[in-house]
Symmetry: C2
Subunit: 331 residues, 2 copies
């Protein structure tokens, strides 16, 4: 299994700084999450029911004809490869590593390709997996290009899988509205934009036959009752969503400006994170960690991903830590 | 997929009685569930972490050396058959139907057998699946018999799978304490005894290599953050557990006495439900439903399962409804 989470716990041990004193910018989860109200006891007591209204609310929110709730995109990422015979699969790289691993584990022939190579070899592939916008690079794709790629894949029984985990701030770029086409599969997550990573919930938008097969594969009751209750309210809360989109965009731009000012202009990103290539990424990561600021380190290519600071004090703390750390690194 | 849940919703439509006016005795979930306190927002916000202390608390509660938290026994029931090459599998029947279906779906040769036939053919099987105590019949097995069966199966690379979803009231009969033996796999659920069916959580007790393979199959973050928080507290709450065991035993006996008095002596059961064979089960089920009392109907053999009424008024309502319904049926 790939390593996940527990980074804050480990950093706390490694740098001898108690957990609660860190500024954790190592994720792409919004620090301005949907405010969860107290829950009904009923949600804990009873088995969750499929006809509780969640699917209807999700269809509206995603603008998709057909949706299947799943226990996080991760559940779909693991199950989708089991629904195809051995295929030639191209996965955008670097990107969220679980995709390629899940397809490999299910016995497919997987190529991890940068976007240009992926475009060039698409004709020889049965399945193309794109993260859109990409994580950590933030690459985006043209709607027309994606539709053409899908048409070419589906004409020969192939799939285009789009992981739109970071799409909620820019829903106008989503392909959920056409995900009822055979061979187009869009994954959405409530972890990032809604700040509900602990809820373990996401949705798959696709044609009904694919969703039925996926449902059969995943089994009944994949979401907890409290999660279903929270989602029914969060996905319907249009006023909060509009506020969050504007606020995240502003805060994302503010983070990008801060990084530019400190001499680390982002090479990419989206509202929820900024990504900076940097030859001394590893040393800088450690220098920030010694100051209790945790960011995410990547090594191919050497780079750092900065999640959003959640308030004024957090922005100031990042700015100061970055100033000191860069001085130390460049000394 | 087998049909599950939504029975109350359907009964409400079919009998024209609003949902909130039913006495729902159609499940084996305790009506005296663990009292869930308000949750920290943090549990919703962050990705759940494996090293949050849940595993240690669960080891203590189950008295097992090694445990894996899973999204309900159901998740384990679906994943276990994928960890073996095609095998000859015997499943106790009648019993919880998902077991046999999951083994069949994964390509195994499945026989559904009553206990005597299962005993007689165990030598020809690679895997034996028992629900202990059984649902709905409440059959129990001798520890010595189970250990002998396991020894014989494991000696030839086989498995004994014990679904102990209803074992919490009688932990002295559990085999969790020896589940570190190769080929012994015990499934536990927090849905019934703790009244947390909405949490979608259970535990598998088995040898470390099996648990590693299962973890790999199920992937990361299978439990939500709020569920992990609730379980850490509920599994450690020894005072509540002791109270619940005593109370459930008393209420189970009270339910059995009520059924005897009304001329429906239980053929089996456990503290959380009583099971009555009855030639007119189907008609009686409908007569109770017309009175807003929902019980679970089985047709092989014709029988009804009664869950526990949750208070004095519920006991009285069941008693009255049963009296009227039996008069109607026997007229």
């Amino acid at each position: 299994m790939l390593e996940h989470g527990g980074r804050l716990q480990r950093a706390a041990r490694e740098y001898g700084i108690p957990r609660e004193r860190w500024l954790d910018l190592s994720t792409g989860i919004s620090p301005f999450g949907w405010p969860v109200p107290p829950l009904s006891t009923e949600a804990w007591r009873r088995l969750p029911e499929d006809d509780d209204g969640l699917v209807e609310v999700a269809r509206d929110y995603y603008g998709a004809c057909h949706v299947l709730p799943v226990a996080g995109s991760q559940a779909a990422i693991q199950a989708l490869p089991r629904l195809r015979r051995p295929s030639r699969v191209g996965v955008l790289a670097p990107g969220y590593a679980e995709h390629a691993q899940a397809w490999e584990r299910a016995g497919h022939a997987v190529q991890r390709l940068p976007i240009d190579a992926l475009r060039a070899t698409a004709d020889t592939l049965d399945v193309v997996v794109l993260i859109h916008p990409n994580n950590p690079g933030g690459e985006r794709f043209d709607r027309a290009e994606l539709l053409a790629l899908h048409a070419s894949l589906s004409a020969r029984g192939g799939w285009l899988v789009l992981d739109e985990a970071f799409m909620d701030v820019t829903p106008e770029h989503s392909l959920c509205d056409v995900a009822d086409r055979d061979g187009l599969i869009v994954l959405r997550s409530v972890g990032k934009f809604f700040g509900l990573a602990g809820a373990r919930a996401g949705f798959v938008c696709a044609a009904p036959a694919l969703l039925d097969a996926l449902h059969e594969q995943l089994g009944p009751w994949t979401l907890s009752g409290p999660t279903r209750q929270v989602l029914r309210e969060a996905l319907a809360d249009r006023a909060w969503q509009a506020w969050a989109r504007t606020h995240l965009r502003e805060q994302g731009e503010r983070l990008a400006r801060l990084l530019v000012t400190r001499g680390l202009p982002p090479a990419g990103g989206c509202a929820l994170f900024q990504w900076c290539r940097c030859d001394v990424a590893s040393v800088l990561h450690a220098a920030l960690a010694r100051r209790g600021v945790l960011v995410r380190l990547f090594d191919t290519p050497f780079s750092l991903r900065f999640g959003l600071p959640g308030d004024e004090a957090a922005f100031e703390r990042l700015d100061r830590a970055l100033d000191e750390a860069l001085h130390e690194v460049r000394r």
